[in-house]
């Protein structure tokens, strides 16, 4: 809370600039500084309070630093504390003045009162001034050996603070080893817990540079250490228990008996009133039993009740955090929660973020036995005063309809929504009816009758309008006035602002034309000419495409636009299962609340301790899809499925999807979404015309146009030094294994060219580029501005591999690479090659 930027504060008129007041304070403090009059401490207290209160509201009071230090020579502990607080805040910006405080802080570190020793030590370590580090070492060393546990707890964190100011000093003084000793021997639980925390932070940060540190980090989750902590669980405070439990969740027991022992030991933690303890315990249970299917399921049963109790006790905020975790579990194993559906009913006064989660859970747990009741309940919410929730409820009904085999009753309900005559209800219901028809074409008769009675004038929302138009095109045979409605819509082409609607209009009128040519011909002509003149690129392209297609051959055009259709059997999920697994691995973290894995919202260094499973977890993205070769393409292939089959869902769950790692560039999201509504063969073609849709198709284009002959890599990369095999192959399993086995050969940071940064809108673009340099990607992920890649390459003549982890931050134009190699001697040569390849990215 050091002084905020001046400009910020002086601008706001309500805040006093404080200049006059501060100089007043300064004089008053100066007067008191030397005084020994009785009662002087009281006046000092008042002045100090004023200084702190200015500091709190953001007035810069750093100018009284000298006076504050002078006044702090006092036995009054309240004064001392205020002074420490002040000094801690301003030392960083006043490193020179901070030196003044060292003296009295050091003296206080030797005070008789352990409280003062502790406070002084804490303040000393909180100064955050690099050139004062030398003064810390002595007091810290003493503090760690202090007879008073309070001083030791403070000293342990002092070491951690020192590490953050000057890591080398901390390591050189061998403080971590002292902490390790304390951790295993100190009688005070809080000292032990602090040691664990500090060591986790230090060793995780060091692990990338030093083998020792990463071994030490591994040692924390070794059996003796874990058992040491487990056996002392009760003596720890509830907060320390959370830290220990998090550590235990990383432990891999050697056999099932051990697993049961640990679970039995921790069983009563599930009854703790502190939700953080319960969730940490649950994480241990879930992770321990991952490989034991039956037990894992029993764990779900066991934790249900405690979770529900936590949801209903505590503040709305706390219950939201727990509910998010319950949500995750429900999504993973809906059948286990099917009988508890009533707990997911929304309550009148719940915040909408809670209601939204509950609606999703209700959707997930719906099965044959409870659907009727759930849908009845959801229909009640459709009339809710909270419109976003009402919409969400209608969508939920629709999703349940798409899950169920017996949709009879639900269809009736949806059709009733259409008759409610509320704009947003109609809009949502239309979109759902469309999805429903794609899956259950047999319902067309009933639906079309109702949909036909809706006037297109009453439908304004683009998505709903697009759905209506799709139905008009698809069922133009059954809907008598379909051509005329389409015609009137085309007449108003210019007023239609949504490109999505215009695209649908084009397709619908085409379909209609093939069924009822005489009535539609005129409208089709109008639509095509309006489309050709359209300023929107996709609309223009599609109009032109239809036009040429018709010109070429009408019957071919019909087979493209209007072939017989197959019902969609399953709407794909919006989140890939890999992402879901990542989130599950990160149980009891923010990932669950945000519904995204941590690499999407935090920098690497902030992901918390023990994220070394990270790399391997990421790899699995490639690994699971990797049955056949060409690994670089697999991630995109996944991506493509995702986009094409679920474009509709994507719109419904927009935000969740946007979080996904592999979102395509924004502009082409609309084109696949449209094509998905259309037919299979149309799809194939739209694939060709939509750029960057998937690299497979782009390759095809490249081949056709001869732009980048994939077989002949661009100017051979510096052959004399190192030659890579352009057809290298490595399966993800081997990669994963090697990555684990090999030691780090090289780690480098460098800057990317601005062109490179500009070109890196999706991971895929870089993959293609690197492949041209015979460096292949095995897994990739991330989202602007953070991307992460795993590459591999092979020497041309021998089967010596290079493995690369490459993290690119486009906002800072920084790339960080870690190279591991079978043959360490050539790793530098490879690194040069890699960098030169990367530096060419964006230029070609």
């Amino acid at each position: 809370m050091a002084p905020p930027a001046q400009s910020q504060r002086t601008q706001s008129p309500s805040q006093p600039s404080g200049k006059g007041e501060v100089s007043d304070l300064k004089t008053q403090l100066r007067q008191l500084a030397g005084s020994r009059a009785p009662g002087v401490d009281d006046s000092k207290r008042e002045l100090f309070k004023k200084v702190i209160s200015y500091m709190t509201i953001g007035i810069d009071v750093s100018s009284v630093f000298g006076e504050m230090v002078m006044c702090s020579v006092t036995p009054d502990i309240v004064l001392k504390k205020m002074c420490y607080l002040y000094v801690g805040n301003y030392a960083k910006v006043n490193p020179d003045l901070a030196l003044l405080t060292i003296n009295f802080l050091q003296r206080d570190c030797k005070d008789q009162d352990p409280m003062i020793r502790g406070l002084a030590l804490r303040s000393l370590c909180s100064l955050r001034v690099a050139n004062l580090v030398e003064y810390l070492v002595g007091p810290l060393g003493l503090g760690l050996k202090d007879s008073n546990s309070y001083v030791r707890t403070v000293a342990v964190f002092g070491v951690l603070k020192l590490y953050h100011i000057s890591a080398s000093t901390c390591i050189d003084e061998e403080f971590p080893l002292t902490l390790k000793h304390l951790m295993l021997n100190d009688p005070d639980a809080q000292v032990v817990a602090n040691c664990l925390t500090a060591l986790q932070e230090i060793w995780s940060a060091e692990a990338s540079n030093s083998e020792d540190a990463s071994r030490e980090r591994e040692a924390l989750i070794s059996k003796p250490v874990i058992y040491y902590f487990l056996n002392r669980m009760r003596v720890f405070s509830e907060w320390a228990q959370c830290i220990v439990l998090e550590l235990v969740s990383k432990y891999v027991p050697s056999d099932n008996n051990e697993i049961f022992d640990i679970m039995n030991l921790l069983e009563d933690r599930l009854q703790h009133a502190n939700g953080a303890v319960v969730l940490a315990t649950i994480k241990v249970f879930l992770h321990l039993t991952l490989s034991m299917n039956d037990v894992h399921q029993q764990v779900y049963e066991r934790i249900k009740a405690p979770l529900l109790t936590l949801v209903s006790s505590g503040s709305p905020e706390q219950s939201y955090a727990v509910l998010s975790h319950l949500h995750l579990l429900v999504m993973r194993a809906p059948f286990i929660f099917a009988s508890d559906y009533k707990h997911f009913y929304c309550q009148y006064n719940e915040p909408s973020y809670v209601k939204k989660l509950k609606l999703e859970m209700l959707t997930a747990v719906a099965n044959e036995s409870n659907t009727y009741e759930i849908v009845t309940e959801l229909c009640e919410y459709a009339a809710n005063v909270d419109i976003p929730i009402a919409r969400e409820s209608i969508r939920a009904v629709g999703k349940i309809a798409l899950q169920q085999y017996d949709v009879n009753a639900i269809v009736d309900r949806l059709l009733q929504f259409l008759e409610m005559e509320k704009d947003y209800v109609t809009a949502e219901a239309l979109v759902l009816v469309k999805d429903l028809l794609r899956k259950y074409p047999q319902w067309s008769q009933d639906c079309i009758a109702v949909v036909g009675s809706i006037s297109s004038n009453n439908v304004q929302e683009p998505k709903a309008k697009a759905a209506l138009i799709w139905m008009l095109g698809e069922y133009s045979q059954e809907m008598h006035d379909a051509p005329y409605i389409l015609e009137s819509l085309i007449e108003n082409w210019d007023e239609e602002h949504s490109a999505e609607v215009r695209l649908h209009l084009l397709t619908a009128v085409m379909k209609c034309f093939f069924k009822r040519a005489p009535e539609t011909q005129k409208a089709l002509g109008a639509a095509l000419s309006a489309g050709l003149a359209d300023f929107h690129q996709d609309v223009h392209d599609r109009a032109l495409f239809y036009y040429r297609l018709l010109q070429y051959n009408v019957s071919v055009a019909e087979s493209v636009v209007n072939p017989p259709k197959q019902a969609v059997s399953v709407f794909a999920d919006t989140q890939s299962s890999e992402i879901k697994d990542r989130i599950f691995d990160e149980f009891n973290t923010l990932s669950v609340v945000y519904q995204k894995p941590s690499y999407m919202f935090t920098d690497k260094e902030h992901r918390g301790p023990f994220e070394f499973s990270d790399e391997l977890g990421n790899l699995s993205i490639g690994a699971e899809a990797a049955e056949n070769v060409a690994p670089a393409l697999m991630v995109e292939a996944n991506d493509k499925d995702l986009l094409l089959s679920t474009s509709e869902e994507e719109e419904i769950k927009g935000p969740a999807y946007n979080g996904s790692a592999y979102s395509a560039p924004l502009y082409d999201a609309s084109s696949p979404s449209v094509s998905s509504l259309s037919t299979q063969s149309e799809l194939a073609i739209s694939n060709l015309i939509s750029p960057g849709n998937a690299s497979q198709s782009s390759f095809a284009i490249d081949d056709l146009l001869g732009l980048v002959p994939a077989s002949a890599p661009a100017p051979a990369p510096l052959p004399p030094q190192l030659k890579l095999n352009s057809k290298a192959a490595l399966d993800p399993g081997t990669f994963q294994q090697k990555w684990r086995q090999l030691s780090l050969a090289l780690s480098q940071d460098f800057t990317l060219s601005p062109q490179g940064v500009a070109a890196l809108t999706t991971p895929q673009t870089l993959l293609r580029h690197m492949q041209g340099h015979s460096i292949h990607c095995i897994a990739s992920g991330g989202q602007s501005p953070n991307f992460k890649f795993f590459f591999f390459a092979q020497k041309a003549e021998e089967s010596s591999n290079y493995l690369v982890e490459c993290i690119i931050n486009t906002s800072s134009a920084k790339a960080q690479i870690k190279i591991k190699a079978d043959d360490q001697t050539t790793s530098q040569a490879f690194s040069d090659l890699f960098q030169s390849a990367l530096s060419k990215f964006g230029l070609s």
């Binding site: 809370m1 905020p4 910020q8 709190t56 509201i57 502990i77 309240v78 504390k81 205020m82 607080l85 805040n89 409280m115 964190f157 953050h164 602090n194 925390t197 405070s237 907060w239 959370c242 009854q271 703790h272 009133a273 502190n274 939700g275 953080a276 969730l279 940490a280 009740a305 405690p306 529900l308 109790t309 209903s312 006790s313 505590g314 503040s315 905020e317 706390q318 939201y320 955090a321 009913y345 309550q347 009148y348 006064n349 915040p351 909408s352 973020y353 309940e377 009339a383 976003p388 005559e421 990160e586 009891n588 973290t589 923010l590 609340v593 945000y594 935090t602 902030h606 992901r607 918390g608």
Partner: protein
């Protein structure tokens, strides 16, 4: 691990602000406030308790109109941070007696003292009022509790029967009584929040009781305490199936679905005779939280009738009957019913309250609320479909729906003259009490 902690007033200024790690920018409070104030994401208008902006995670809880906020860049456990924020608020309340903007501003130095000890370098050290006592040297400046609006569920006792010492809930654990000697007393409150949803035909669709046994002890020397609950108390679904067939209320045993306990509670004899023993730490804390879905008799029945009188007019009749003993009085009652937008009879078009009076309802009585509605457009007979449900909020002191009881409260102290005041109090509140129409 958190990076910063601050408390903000509703107007967006910092009352206290503590930076523990210095890795989040200084302007975070301002960024946070702007985000929360103008939240509009995912079609929602209320910021969730946890959100991420530019790599910084913001956590907040609302306590008596104040925002308790923490920031961090690390992927931490959200429930840990939210629990911590809530706990900090409670510790501060224990010290100040009353928690509100005024008392915080007057005592901010003390609060800084607390924060220093509660968190070090972003990690929680202790949230125990008791432990913290030895590190806190400022005397709280107690503000006059009499002028205050009642806050929190236990505050109901402040205005209630005279037997209750009104100031107890607002007493600081450290401040000395003006009279000098500290009064020896202990409070055990059984607070139940009930949720009931009635179908349009009056049938109970869902019902749940979420209860807390809350304790606040002012006993010197921390004697051990034993609390005995109903002897036939059942816990868990195993026991429940037997009782499912019983008639809704009557002599049947109380069966909780689940419960959890404060860490100081020892359950050695809980399984045999349903007693809890504990050495209560200073300050206010929940001894036990419980949840019950066993059927119970709802305290109120609500009947709603909407009579359409022509295309543009209608009348709403809501009948509320109190089905509890006449010796008990419910208060702070509000009944509300959302109406369609085109209702013109009320200034608040969307959500209006049929009766916004602070009613008192005596047990056994019946009240009818009537309201005439006029519409700006024809209703097409949809009025019933588009309005409702009726929602009711109330507080009933000395009533508990679950029939869970504290049979006795034993204080283990050898002296025969030692007889501290023991207060066991019950209160039931509506959480979501909804009747569909």
């Amino acid at each position: 691990m958190i990076s910063q902690f601050f408390v903000m007033s509703q107007r967006g200024d910092n009352i206290v602000f503590r930076d523990y790690r210095g890795d989040v920018q200084k302007g975070s409070a301002e960024i946070f406030f702007r985000k929360v104030k103008f939240w509009k994401e995912d079609g929602q208008e209320e910021a969730p308790p946890v959100f991420n902006a530019d790599g910084v995670n913001y956590f907040h809880v609302k306590v008596v109109g104040l925002l308790f906020v923490a920031t961090t860049r690390v992927n931490v456990s959200p429930s840990l941070v939210l629990e911590l924020l809530q706990r900090i608020a409670r510790v501060i309340k224990d010290y100040l007696g009353v928690l509100n903007e005024d008392s915080l501003r007057k005592n901010f130095v003390l609060v800084y003292e607390l924060l220093d000890e509660v968190i070090d370098f972003g990690y929680v050290q202790s949230t125990s009022t008791e432990v913290l006592k030895s590190y806190v040297f400022n005397e709280p400046i107690v503000i006059d509790a009499a002028r205050l609006q009642p806050l929190g569920p236990a505050s109901i006792f402040m205005q209630g029967t005279k037997r209750m010492p009104g100031t107890a809930v607002t007493k600081s654990v450290v401040a000395n009584e003006p009279g000098g000697r500290k009064r020896e007393e202990i409070f055990v409150d059984i607070i139940e929040k009930i949720s009931v949803t009635f179908s349009s035909s009056g049938y109970i669709l869902t019902s749940e009781i979420d209860g807390t046994i809350q304790m606040k002890s002012y006993l010197t020397g921390n004697p051990e305490i034993r609390i005995a609950l109903n002897e036939d108390l059942g816990i868990g679904k195993g026991g429940r199936s037997i009782y499912d067939y019983r008639s809704s209320t009557g002599s049947g045993a109380v069966v909780l679905d689940d419960c959890n306990f404060h860490e100081s509670v020892r359950l050695d004899s809980f399984d045999t005779d349903r007693t809890l023993s504990l050495i209560p730490p200073d300050g206010e804390f929940p001894v036990m939280n419980y949840r019950m879905t066993q059927e119970f008799k709802p305290p109120f029945r609500i009947n709603t009738l909407i009579e359409e009188a022509g295309p543009l007019k209608a009348e709403v009749i809501i009948k509320v009957s109190a089905e509890f003993s006449s010796s008990i009085t419910a208060n702070t009652i509000v009944v509300e019913m959302p109406l369609p937008k085109y209702t013109t009879s009320n200034i608040i078009k969307f959500l209006f309250t049929v009766s916004n009076i602070l009613y008192k309802i005596v047990g056994g009585s019946e009240h009818t609320l009537r309201a005439k509605l006029t519409f700006s457009q024809e209703t097409h007979g949809n009025i019933t479909k588009e309005s409702g449900p009726v929602n009711m909020t109330f507080t009933i002191p000395m009533y508990n729906a679950s029939r869970l009881q504290v049979k006795y409260l034993q204080i283990a102290k050898k002296s025969s003259t030692y007889n501290p005041y023991r207060w066991v109090r019950y209160v039931t509140q509506a959480n979501s009490y909804v009747a569909r129409i």
